[in-house]
């Protein structure tokens, strides 16, 4: 296939993926009136000031609840994602490097966990958390978020292939304890995979919507997904919320873009690393 044909196909797909985001950007810069009546894929004459006014309204509406939601999402996603990544790494490393009774059975259970959708667990979790009176609290969303069977799976595979037993032996001979070895030696070797695990976790928590929906009723604890959903559920009776939902959706993808762009280089160094052996 010629180069230009490949470029055309790639260009078409790029457009296909970017148009919805472009639509969101354009829609965020419109008043409700223009949104309903003007061409939906291009700006209006007053887009600049309308867009600024919309963002201003978004951040002040309901005593500034939206920035609070953003902050919640960032905390849930980064802190729980980070903690979840470390836990997954420890677990995966242990499964890869230590021999103990029931290791494969345990790993297969984790593998089964990958297949269980998070949505199916929300209701049982709600009933469990009710027993210990932790529903409608920060912990109700935070604690389930740090568990990632997929992260364990990925960490194990990567630890097995990228942390040589010789290095661990050498560390032991030098008198390093197991925990110290893991945190000083293994984690560095595993870092490209851990970035991947973290990104997966980050995105999964950021987009996790059903768990907070079931667990939370205090608005100040909502992640941004649930907050926007709450507004959107009332659009038919309170149409003025529609602009807020659009602008909010656009603003809420910015942290994801930042996370991806800033972690990309770690990724690339990891992906090529396996090819040189």
């Amino acid at each position: 296939m010629s180069r230009s044909a490949a470029m055309i196909i790639m260009g078409v797909f790029t457009l296909y993926f970017l148009i919805p985001i472009f639509w969101l950007l354009v829609s965020s810069t419109k008043t409700l009136d223009n949104f309903n009546s003007s061409f939906s894929l291009w700006f209006t004459a007053t887009s600049l000031q309308d867009g600024i006014a919309n963002v201003g309204r978004l951040f002040t509406y309901n005593d500034g609840i939206f920035p609070r939601w953003m902050l919640n999402s960032i905390v849930y996603a980064t802190v729980a994602g980070g903690l979840g990544t470390i836990l997954s790494a420890m677990c995966g490393y242990a499964l890869a490097k230590y021999r103990f009774w029931g290791r494969e059975a345990l790993f297969n259970i984790f593998l089964g966990g990958v297949l269980v959708p998070a949505t199916a667990l929300a209701l049982p979790l709600f009933l469990i958390f009710s027993k210990v009176q932790l529903t409608d609290s920060f912990w109700a969303v935070f604690l389930p978020s740090i568990v990632s069977p997929f992260g364990v799976y990925l960490s194990r595979i990567y630890a097995a292939s990228s942390v040589p037993d010789e290095i661990i032996e050498a560390a032991r001979i030098d008198g390093s304890g197991e925990v110290r070895t893991f945190f000083t030696v293994a984690i560095r070797l595993m870092s490209p995979a851990l970035v991947t695990v973290f990104l997966f976790q980050f995105v999964a928590i950021w987009n996790n919507f059903f768990l907070p929906l079931v667990m939370l009723r205090t608005q100040t604890l909502f992640p941004v997904t649930l907050g926007l959903y709450t507004w959107n559920s009332n659009v038919s009776q309170y149409p003025e919320l529609r602009t807020l939902v659009l602008v909010g959706a656009f603003v809420s993808i910015i942290p994801l873009l930042v996370a991806f762009l800033s972690l990309q280089r770690f990724w690339r160094s990891g992906l090529g690393a396996g090819g040189l052996k």
Binding site: L32, S130, L213, V214, R217, L226, N234, Q237, Y238, P239
Partner: protein, 448 residues
């Protein structure tokens, strides 16, 4: 599966003759939990001592601002508001989960069509014996009051908050320019539909998703879908009135005289904004929907009573509206009732609700609010809320079933098929009826 409490209604007559002994003091909302209005003793709704905090879960925007007024005046009964997603968007399901787990809020927002579902699951506290509730009855029309009592003797399960009386929104300017008289009967409405089509417009939009609007149209024609005499549900969605309404709209759809966009979407708004659709038979809250969805048409709209089946009648219907319930398991039904009476019948609260959340009050006290008696600019300065106040008095009562979410979704699927030319609206109602009866049986609810 727990057998529905409603099955016990037949036993009410027997129970009523037996004095309720040992009704414990306000530890739970219902003492012995006799789920029927058989002369519950006053002890069932005893005031708590000391400072009380009530949790109130609702989706009404700015409800926190309204409640702040109460909290300032009542340091001993503080209300904590949680604003969540709309009922059918997950909140009802959450209420059921919370009832199961024993951590439901004290007070919740529940629409009239969903009240029976909570009642059948025995999730509602009977506040009938709480002080002030029986007096509040006179504030509401009989039809509305019946929605919150299910006709169970002295029992009361909710306090009505807002209501959705229906009327006809129409483009005054277009009707005038085309020389078409504003339809007062459904026959005239169908004639007007033909004339409007000739002008290149549509008289209205029939949306497959608005089954509750359709139920309103059925009730206006004098129809009922559900009946619970003696505790057994009787489901009949294809009776005379239902058939009449279904055939009427099927005719308009078959002749392509109505638009069939999904409602409350951008295209739907646009059809009104660009003058493509001329009328909407809708509830009082629709005023806000049109003014924000079709801003270009400001000043061109007016409101008239719903078209009638018999010339000279004044039958109206309701679409939407909701109430506040006290959930079973609340430790403070007396305080919750006191707050709900203030929230839904005091002038102070009703005008705040109207201003902050655009709610049209169910209470008759609300009809005299200045905001609801003055002209509205978007509607050519017509005092449209007076029209709705008149309609509210003429709402035909309608009984909702205990599985409305399922009924709506099944009928809506059938409506969708009918719109695309497979089957008719009547077929949709038939299959909706079959599926509803199956759903009731699956929940062990007695059904004919």
């Amino acid at each position: 599966m727990k057998k529905s409490k409603l099955l016990g209604l037949a036993a009410v007559a027997v129970a009523a003759t037996v004095a309720l002994a040992g009704c414990s003091s306000g530890s739970s909302s219902n003492g012995s939990g006799s789920g029927s209005g058989s002369g519950t003793s006053a002890a069932a709704c005893k005031a708590s001592s000391g400072k009380v905090t009530l949790n109130f879960t609702t989706w009404v925007p700015n409800m926190d601002k309204v409640v702040a007024l109460w909290n300032k005046e009542n340091p001993d009964i503080q209300v904590k508001v949680s604003i969540v997603a709309n009922g059918n968007s997950g909140t009802y399901q959450n209420f059921f989960n919370q009832l199961k787990a024993g951590n439901a809020p004290d007070i919740g927002q529940v629409e009239y069509d969903t009240l029976p579902a909570f009642r059948v699951q025995d999730g509602l506290a009977d506040i009938g014996s709480c002080s002030g509730i029986s007096k509040a009855k006179s504030d509401f029309s009989d039809g509305l009051w019946n929605q919150v009592t299910f006709g169970e003797g002295k029992s009361v399960y909710a306090v009505p908050q807002d209501s959705g009386p229906m009327a006809l929104y129409y483009r005054k300017d277009l009707f005038k320019a085309a020389g078409i008289p504003v339809p007062t009967t459904w026959a005239e409405y169908a004639d007007a539909a033909v004339k409007i089509k000739a002008k290149g417009g549509n008289i209205t939009n029939f949306a497959k998703g608005d089954v509750n609007q359709f139920a309103g149209l059925v009730s206006q024609a004098g129809g009922q879908w559900f009946n619970t005499d003696n505790g057994t549900w009787d489901v009949n969605m294809t009776s005379g009135a239902s058939k009449k309404v279904a055939d009427y709209w099927q005719d308009l759809i078959s002749k392509k005289l109505v638009n069939t966009l999904p409602s409350f979407t951008d295209q739907w708004n646009n059809a009104y904004n660009t003058g493509q659709d001329w009328t909407w038979v809708s509830a009082v809250w629709g005023a806000n929907t049109i003014s924000s969805g079709a801003p270009k048409t400001s000043g061109d709209w007016a409101v008239a009573p719903m078209p009638q089946w018999n010339a000279g009648d004044n039958a109206a219907a309701a679409w939407g509206g909701s109430s506040n319930v006290v959930f079973k398991g609340s430790k403070h039904p007396a305080e919750a009732s006191k707050f709900l009476i203030w929230l839904n019948t005091s002038t102070e609260a009703l005008s705040a609700l109207n201003k902050e959340a655009n709610l049209y009050p169910a209470s008759s006290t609300g009809a005299d609010l200045p905001a609801l008696t003055s002209g509205v600019e978007f509607y050519g300065n017509q005092a449209i809320y007076k029209e709705f106040a008149t309609a509210a008095e003429n709402i035909k009562p309608f009984t909702w079933g205990p599985t409305m979410t399922q009924t709506y979704s099944d009928v809506s699927d059938g409506f969708g098929s009918a719109i695309s030319g497979n089957g008719t609206l009547l077929d949709a109602l038939k299959s909706g009826q079959t599926k509803t009866i199956a759903a009731l049986k699956a929940q062990s609810i007695a059904v004919k």
